[in-house]
Symmetry: C2
Subunit: 106 residues, 2 copies
């Protein structure tokens, strides 16, 4: 699936780390939300609210997941999951394109 159909997309970008990480919010017909994002090379730390599934569309990065001591490599075509209310770090080596899904557990 190379595109999302029948969605609502915000005109305004989400900008983090002075533009090092930027994304657009996409809302689906069922109310679920994803962000389509891009990260420039650099090191970034984020804290989740919900479970987040990070699908790497293109690029090359190292990820330090919460509770782990080892950075693990991810590339285009791979994904990782971050628990809710957790902090994780990314060391982006080449421009990285991603889709982040937010998973609410009710």
């Amino acid at each position: 699936m190379s595109q999302f159909t029948n969605v609502t997309v915000s005109k305004k970008a989400n900008v983090y780390f002075n533009g090092g990480v930027t994304s657009r919010t996409v809302v689906f017909a069922d109310g679920t939300k994803k962000t389509l994002g891009l990260m420039l090379p650099g090191t970034y730390e984020f804290t989740t609210d919900t479970i987040e599934i990070m699908e790497i569309t293109a690029g090359d990065l190292l990820v330090l997941l919460p509770g782990e001591s080892e950075w693990k490599p991810y590339q285009g075509g791979t994904q990782f999951e971050v628990p809710a209310n957790a902090t994780f770090k990314m060391d982006v080596k080449t421009i990285t394109d991603y889709v982040c899904s937010f998973v609410s557990v009710s």
Copy 2:
């Protein structure tokens, strides 16, 4: 209008100038296309295929339109139009969020 509804959005980003300018392509139900883009500070030159209407959502830049000798300032809430098959330059002063509409004349 702060968002676009009932659209198709590409998962893959368009990346120019080593990530200085990035955008996502949005296709509307009537087949028309826009890009939702973000520019980091820097100077960029683009060449159009169709007429392009650049709506600045946020930010601050100078623009040199084709055939003009004077750079003109634009900010969030303003827009400019570029003819088809023309080259224009932008000198982006602060992170600039834009919507670009492509106008095909048949």
